[in-house]
Amino acid sequence: MSRTLIIAEHDGNNLNPSTAKCASCAAALGHPFDIVVLGTSINDIAGEAASIEGAATVITIDADHLANPLAVNHAAEVVAMADNYTHILGPSTTVGRDLMPRIAALLGVNQVSDISDVEDAYHFKRPIYAGNAIVDVHAPESATLVATVRVASWKAAGAGGSAAVESRAASAAASSHTRFVKLESGGGERPDLQTATRVVSGGRALASKENFDLIYELADLIGGGAGASRAAVDAGYCPNDMQVGQTGKIISPDLYMAFGISGAIQHITGIKDAGTIVAVNKDAEAPIFEIADIGLAADLFTVIPELKQQLG
């Protein structure tokens, strides 16, 4: 019997939207799926997971050493329950990318990274070379399929479900060799980049940390998330968790507005799935205009204040 296990992601308070996206991918595989929530005091999060449409059972494993998503501890729990599943899915977020290969190796299988499309239960599509090529991947049917789901490619499953919640004891003890110290979050109260429907991003042309306020103000005005190019993060204008691109976040908002971003291929990779791309750049030759749906060759320091006025 084919059955899929999804590893839920959460921050200790709320379920990450990537879990509902994994559920859409699991539904496309065509067989029943369960969701496992690992952590501590996770009843509310399990409740959220149980409402994901299509989920059969939500399994909770509540233990102090699972409070933070250390791959070594979480992988041990998933591997202990792997016998019951033909497919194990996690999100292509940093948590999923840290955890899933550890699980795959312990199970002796290769991992399919970044599933962007399901052809059948062992045949997928995924992007490689920073999204410059799409390939077909066939996985062996004789082995457990371990994969990450490219969250930007999937819509979240609906919230009309009512799965049973079942709690289990942890199978493994805490690792003694890996210890969580702290998490410093860079962002404020703005919508999460990976789920925001609108994103306003700034590049090196913003020229200072102070000027990035323009990006934040416009983002807040349209209820969007705030992003950045690698150049802007490297220059220290904004925190690392705002980086959009091959090595940052890969996002798919309905509206993406890029200000002072030239459009290196590594950045374009992160926004290819956006609905509408707006680019504002002083340099009319900037490569970002090749992929922008609406381009404006003008100075962002003039355009953003005008936008604020006209949209406000």
Binding site: V72, T93, T94, V95, R97, D98, L99, M100, R102, A104, A105, V109, N110, Q111, S113, I128, Y129, N132, A133, I134, V135, D136, V137, A139, P140, A143, S175, S176, H177, T178, F180, V181, L183, E184, S185, G186, G187, R198, I222, P239, N240, D241, Q246, T247, L255, I265, K272, T276, V278, F289, I291, D293, I294, G295, L296, A297, A298, T302, L307, L311
Partner: protein, 248 residues
Amino acid sequence: MKILVGIKRVVDYNVRIRVKPDGSGVDTDGVKMSINPFDEIALEEALRIREAGNADEVIVVSLGGNECQQQLRTGLAMGADRAIQIDTSEKQQPLTIARAFLKVIEKEQPGMVILGKQAIDGDNSQTAQMLAALWDRPQATFASEMTLSGDTATVVREVDAGLETIEVDLPAVISVDLRLNEPRFVKLPDIMKAKRKPLEVISMDELEVSAENDLQISHYTPPPARSKGIMVEDTAQLVAELKNRGLV
């Protein structure tokens, strides 16, 4: 302490990738090949640890045919002490690579293995995590800051939620992110010196590692192109266009 650094030969990050018309792969004929940029950062970090007196040897390891010796030589020119080529004519997948690296680890007994967080060709981001699992040692992925103190490494990791700090006991596998350091440039005399540094070739067979449960990868296609957009003249037109499309 020895540090092992993994190096992958990839299409240079500045090259615009072209899919072959028959869909069998991407065009690499006459294309510039380089060390995967993340691996270069991994090597730079290892060299800095050695220069700070916390390691005495840095070994670069690559898996591939003889062509990857070019990247190993570059690694030696950057400052690695010696190189190991795990010789294979096949394109190997992360699990097999991790198994082969583990064999080298068993022989070399490094205190730390540093790898790039992903290769910019396959974009898998798996080898470091898999190696840590098979070795039954800690993994600290996506490192942007690293400090050593005795047998412990404190690693700041770039995660979606911000910056996470973890502590791992050595030996451990570290995978590095872009902001960890700026790799040094190779100087001409170092390239000459690198020619005399030891480069050992071990075959996959000697290591008794073979591929299994491989994924079959086929039908390379270019991504769907975005249709050509429009240029507007000023902010008012931009706002009108956004309103027109129901986006604001």
